[in-house]
C-alpha cells in the first residue's frame, strides 16, 4: 500500500491537533485582559495555559516539518507563495511567545500593558493568518505548471480564505472562553462564562456559514459529509452547553468544533493539496508533490513510535495541571501561603475536580498529589 494517503492523514491530524490545543491558547491570549479585571486576574488567566502553550505550539512546527518531509512540493509552493503572510504570522507568533515570558519579568505597569497588547494582537493575528492560509489551499491560488505561485500578496485574500480566518478566530475565542470557564474560579469563572455566552452566537453562525461555503466550494454532492455534519452539530451543541453553563461539556464541544472545522478543509481538499485557480491541470495533489517511498516509510516508523508517546506525556501534563487557577494566588499580599482555614472553605466551594486535586497549600510538604 502506498503511504501517500497515510501521510496526508498524518498532516491533517497534526494541523487538527495544533488547533484543538493551541486554539484555546489563542483564545486565552485574546481574552486575558477581558477575563482578568486586574493584574492578578490577568496573571491568573495567563497561568491557566502557562505550562501548556509551548508544548502546544510544537504541533505547528511538526505539521510544517511533516509537510516538508512528506510533500516537499506542497511545502515549497505554499510557503514561498504565501511569503508575506507567513512573515506576518511569524512576527505574530514571536511577539506572542515572548510576551508570555517577559510580561511578568518586570514590575512596571507600562511594561505589562505593552506585552498585554502584544499578546492579544499576536493571538488574534495567528489564527486569522493561518485560517487564510488553510482556506486558500481549497479556494485556489494562481499556480503555474511548474508548481509556482504566480500571484501577488493581495491574491492571498480570497473571500473564502478570509472567511476561514475569521471563523477560526471566532472558534478560538469561544474555545478559549470555555477553557477559561473550566480553569478559573469565582468572579473570573463567571466572567469567562459571560464572555463565552457573548461570543457563542457569533461563532455558531460563522461555523455554519463556513461549513456551507466549504461544502459548496469543494463538493458537488447535495448532502454534507460526516465531518462537515459533525462540525455543525458540535457548534450547535457548544452554544447550547455554554448557555447551560456546563463548563466541561462546553469545552469538549468547542474542541470537537475546531477539530471538525480543520478536518473538513482537509477532507474536502483530498486528493489535492493546493488548488490552482489558473487551471485544474496545475493543481498540486498528494501524488505530484510527495516524497519517495523510502522516505515515507522511514518517517512512518518514526511517527508510529513517537506520536503515541507525545500524546501520552502531553496528556499527563494536562492531568498534572488539571486544577483550577485561583486569582488569589497572584495577589501580592497572598504570596505567603493562604490560611489553612480559608483554603478549606474555598475547597468546599470548588468543583469536584479541584477538590480531588488538592489545593497547593496541602502540597506544601512537597509530596504532591
Amino acid at each position: 500500500m502506498s503511504l501517500i494517503p497515510f501521510w496526508f492523514i498524518v498532516i491533517a491530524i497534526l494541523w487538527t491537533g495544533f488547533f484543538v490545543l493551541e486554539g484555546f491558547d489563542f483564545g486565552v491570549g485574546m481574552l486575558h485582559s477581558a477575563v482578568g479585571a486586574d493584574e492578578a486576574g490577568r496573571r491568573a488567566a495567563i497561568n491557566t495555559i502557562g505550562p501548556l502553550w509551548d508544548g502546544n505550539e510544537v504541533w505547528l512546527i511538526v505539521a510544517g516539518a511533516a509537510m516538508f518531509a512528506a510533500f516537499p512540493g506542497w511545502y515549497a509552493t505554499m510557503f514561498s507563495g504565501m511569503y508575506l503572510a507567513l512573515v506576518l504570522l511569524l512576527a505574530a507568533l514571536i511577539i506572542r511567545g515572548v510576551a508570555f515570558e517577559y510580561r511578568g519579568k518586570r514590575d512596571a505597569a507600562r511594561w505589562r500593558r505593552t506585552w498585554d497588547t502584544a499578546l492579544t494582537t499576536g493571538s488574534v493575528l495567528a489564527p486569522l493568518l493561518l485560517g487564510i492560509a488553510l482556506g486558500d489551499l481549497l479556494a485556489g491560488l494562481p499556480i503555474d505548471s511548474a508548481q509556482n505561485f504566480t500571484g501577488s500578496f493581495w491574491d492571498l485574500f480570497r473571500p473564502y480564505g478570509v472567511f476561514t480566518g475569521i471563523t477560526l478566530v471566532l472558534v478560538c475565542l469561544l474555545h478559549g472562553a470555555t477553557f477559561l470557564s473550566l480553569k478559573t474560579t469565582d468572579e473570573m469563572h463567571q466572567r469567562s462564562q459571560r464572555e463565552a455566552r457573548r461570543i457563542a452566537p457569533f461563532t455558531g453562525a460563522a461555523v455554519i456559514g463556513f461549513i456551507v461555503w466549504t461544502h459548496v466550494t469543494a463538493s458537488s454532492a447535495f448532502f454534507l459529509n460526516l465531518i462537515e455534519l459533525t462540525a455543525i452539530l458540535a457548534v450547535i451543541a457548544a452554544v447550547w452547553l455554554v448557555f447551560e453553563r456546563r463548563d466541561g461539556w462546553a469545552f469538549a464541544a468547542t474542541a470537537l468544533t475546531i477539530a471538525a472545522c480543520i478536518l473538513s478543509i482537509f477532507v474536502d481538499l483530498y486528493p489535492n493539496v493546493m488548488v490552482s485557480s489558473t487551471s485544474a491541470a496545475n493543481n498540486l495533489t498528494v501524488h505530484n508533490t510527495a516524497s519517495g517511498a523510502y522516505s515515507l516509510k522511514a518517517m512512518t516508523v518514526v511517527v508510529i513510535v513517537f506520536l503515541p508517546l507525545v500524546l501520552g506525556y502531553q496528556a499527563w501534563t494536562y492531568y498534572v495541571f488539571r486544577r483550577r487557577v485561583r486569582r488569589e494566588e497572584f495577589l501580592p499580599a497572598a504570596r505567603p501561603a493562604p490560611e489553612p482555614a480559608a483554603s478549606e472553605a474555598a475547597a468546599s466551594e470548588a468543583t469536584a475536580i479541584e477538590a480531588a486535586a488538592g489545593l497547593p497549600v496541602r502540597d506544601a510538604d512537597g509530596k504532591g498529589p
Binding site: 496573571r43 495567563i46 497561568n47 502557562g50 505550562p51 502553550w53 509551548d54 508544548g55 505550539e57 510544537v58 505547528l60 512546527i61 511538526v62 510544517g64 516538508f68 518531509a69 512528506a70 516537499p72 511545502y75 515549497a76 505554499m78 510557503f79 514561498s80 507563495g81 511569503y83 507567513l86 512573515v87 511569524l90 507568533l93 514571536i94 511567545g97 515572548v98 508570555f100 515570558e101 510580561r103 511578568g104 519579568k105 518586570r106 509556482n148 516524497s291 519517495g292 523510502y294 522516505s295 522511514a298 518517517m299 518514526v302 513517537f306 507525545v310 506525556y313 502531553q314 501534563t317 498534572v320 495541571f321 505567603p336 501561603a337 497547593p360 497549600v361 512537597g366 509530596k367 504532591g368
Partner: protein, 460 residues
C-alpha cells in the same frame, strides 16, 4: 540581488538563533546537574542555585523556540527550489526533530517550570533532565540535516532528484558525528561560560559567597574539559571536512597553490579572493598539514587547482568560497578557544588555592569572558556555511538555484526589515532581562520564610 538578500536574511536569523540555542542546551544541562546535587545532598544552596539559573534558562528558551520557528519556515519561504529538490532527504530529519525532540523539550519545560509543588521531587528532577536531553537531541537531528548539505550520503539520484535510500547513513555521516560532538561541546562551553560569568559578577558584588562559589566551581569543572574536547573534536572535524570539502580548508588558510608539507600562518595582511599572495606573519611549519590531514607531511590541495578540477567536473563557474571569511573565521574561533581555555585553567588553579571568590581580577575577566563563546560559535558557523558556497548542497545544487523564483525583491526587503527590527528589539530585551536577573539576589533560603510554605512556583 534576491540571492544576496535571501542569503543575508538566512545568515542573520541563523546567527541570532544560535545565540540562544547553545545557552539553552548548556544551561539546561547545568541546571539539571544543580538540581541533581540538591536532590542528592539536600543542601539548600543547590536548590537556590537551581531556581536562580533556571530563571535565566527560561528567559532564553522562549526566544530560542520562536526564532527556531522562523528557521523552519524559511526553507520553504526563501529556498523553495531547494526544498522541492531535497525535501525528501532533508525534510526527514527535520520532521523527526519535531516529533522526537521539540515535543519532549517544550512539554517537559512546562512541567518543570510549573511542577515544583505538583510533582514528587524525583519526578520533578526527571523533568529537567528530559529538557536537557530533548535540547541535545534536537541539535542532533538538525545537525544530521545540515551535515547532509556538507556531505550528501544515503541517497540515489532518480531523474536528477536525490532520493533517500538509507536513513542511517545520515546519522553515521562522519561530518555529522564530528560536527554534532563539536556543537554539544560548544554548547556546554557557552552555558558554562554564562554560569561562570554570572557567578563571578555576584561574587564581585557581594552576592552570597558560599553559594556562588559552588556554581562557579561547577561551571569551571564543566568548562575546562568541554573546551578541550571542543578543540580536539574541531581538529578531527577539520580533517573530515578537508576530505569532503577541500575548498573549505584550503580557503581557511588562503592556500592558493598545493603545498606539502603546509604551514599555518598566525596572521596575514591583505588576502581575499583577488589577492593570492597575502603577506603571512609567523608561519608555523607543518601545522596546516597536521590540522587538515593528521599527518606531519600531509598534502593540502590549493584553491587554484581545486577550481580547475571543479570547473571540469561541474562545468564553468566560480567554486571558491569567500576566502576572507574562511581565513578569519577559522582564526577567531581557534584563538578565542585558547583564551577560554586559559581563563578556565586559571579558575581551576584558583579553586585549588581556595582564592577563587576573592581574586577580583579573575572575576572581572570571567564576567567579560562570557562574550567569547558567542563570538566563537558565530565564527565557527560562518566558517562551516560560507565554506560550503557556492553550493547549497555540496556537489548537487548551487545556492543560486535553490531560491524561491517567485519571491520578489520587494517581499525580501520587507521580510529583512521586519526580521531585523524584531530580532534587534527582542535580542536587546532578552539581553537586558538576562542582565537584570543575573544581578538579582538569590531567592531566600526557605527557613527564613515560613517553614511550611511551598517553594514558590515559577509563574508568568
Amino acid at each position: 540581488m534576491n540571492i544576496d538578500l535571501a542569503r543575508w536574511q538566512f545568515a542573520f536569523t541563523s546567527v541570532n538563533h544560535f545565540f540562544f540555542v547553545p545557552v539553552t542546551i548548556g544551561l539546561a544541562f547545568l541546571t539539571a546537574l544543580l538540581q541533581t546535587a540538591w536532590y542528592r545532598t539536600k543542601l539548600e544552596e543547590y536548590l537556590r542555585l537551581t531556581r536562580f539559573f533556571g530563571t535565566l534558562l527560561v528567559i532564553n528558551v522562549a526566544i530560542g523556540v520562536v526564532t527556531g520557528l522562523v528557521q523552519e519556515f524559511q526553507f520553504g519561504m526563501n529556498w523553495g527550489q531547494y526544498s522541492r529538490l531535497v525535501g525528501n532527504v532533508f525534510g526527514a530529519p527535520l520532521a523527526m526533530e519535531g516529533l522526537a525532540a521539540f515535543f519532549l523539550e517544550s512539554t517537559f519545560l512546562g512541567l518543570w517550570l510549573f511542577g515544583w509543588d505538583k510533582l514528587p521531587k524525583r519526578v520533578h528532577l526527571l523533568t529537567i533532565w528530559a529538557v536537557a536531553f530533548g535540547s541535545m537531541l534536537s541539535a542532533a537531528f538538525i545537525l544530521a540535516a545540515n551535515s547532509w548539505m556538507q556531505h550528501p550520503v544515503g541517497y540515489v539520484m532518480i531523474n536528477g532528484k536525490p532520493q533517500l535510500n538509507d536513513i542511517w547513513a545520515l546519522f553515521t555521516n562522519p561530518v555529522f558525528v564530528w560536527g554534532y560532538a563539536k556543537v554539544v561541546f560548544a554548547a556546554l562551553v557557552t552555558g558554562a561560560a554564562v554560569m561562570l560569568a554570572v557567578s563571578a559578577w555576584q561574587l564581585r558584588h557581594r552576592g552570597d559567597r558560599e553559594v556562588f562559589t559552588r556554581s562557579a566551581r561547577l561551571a569551571l569543572i564543566v568548562l575546562v574539559p568541554a573546551i578541550l574536547f571542543a578543540m580536539l573534536v574541531g581538529d578531527e572535524l577539520g580533517v573530515v571536512e578537508a576530505r569532503y570539502q577541500p575548498m573549505k580548508i584550503a580557503a581557511a588558510e588562503a592556500q592558493w597553490t598545493t603545498c606539502q608539507p603546509c604551514s599555518f600562518s598566525l596572521f596575514q595582511i591583505g588576502g581575499g579572493n583577488n589577492d593570492h599572495t597575502p603577506t603571512q606573519i609567523i608561519a608555523i611549519p607543518h601545522l596546516l598539514s597536521l590540522l587538515a590531514t593528521n599527518h606531519w607531511n600531509g598534502q593540502v590541495v590549493g584553491l587554484t587547482p581545486l577550481q580547475q578540477q571543479y570547473s571540469k567536473q561541474y562545468g564553468p563557474g566560480n567554486y571558491v568560497p569567500d576566502v576572507f571569511i574562511q581565513y578569519w573565521g577559522m582564526r577567531v574561533m581557534a584563538y578565542l578557544a585558547v583564551v577560554v581555555f586559559l581563563i578556565g585553567a586559571w579558575g581551576l588553579w584558583l579553586i585549588r588555592r581556595k582564592t577563587l571568590a576573592t581574586s577580583r581580577v579573575f572575576l572581572w575577566v570571567a564576567v567579560w569572558g562570557a562574550v567569547l563563546p558567542f563570538l566563537m560559535n558565530t565564527a565557527g558557523w560562518l566558517l562551516t556555511e560560507s565554506g560550503r558556497q557556492p553550493w547549497i548542497v555540496q556537489g548537487i545544487m548551487l545556492t543560486r538555484n535553490g531560491i524561491s523564483p517567485t519571491v520578489s525583491t520587494t517581499w525580501l526587503w520587507i521580510s529583512v526589515v521586519i526580521f531585523v527590527l524584531l530580532y534587534g528589539t527582542l535580542g536587546t530585551v532578552d539581553f537586558l532581562l538576562m542582565l537584570r536577573y543575573s544581578r538579582k539576589q538569590l531567592p531566600p533560603p526557605r527557613e527564613q520564610a515560613d517553614a511550611d510554605a511551598p517553594v514558590p512556583a515559577v509563574q508568568y
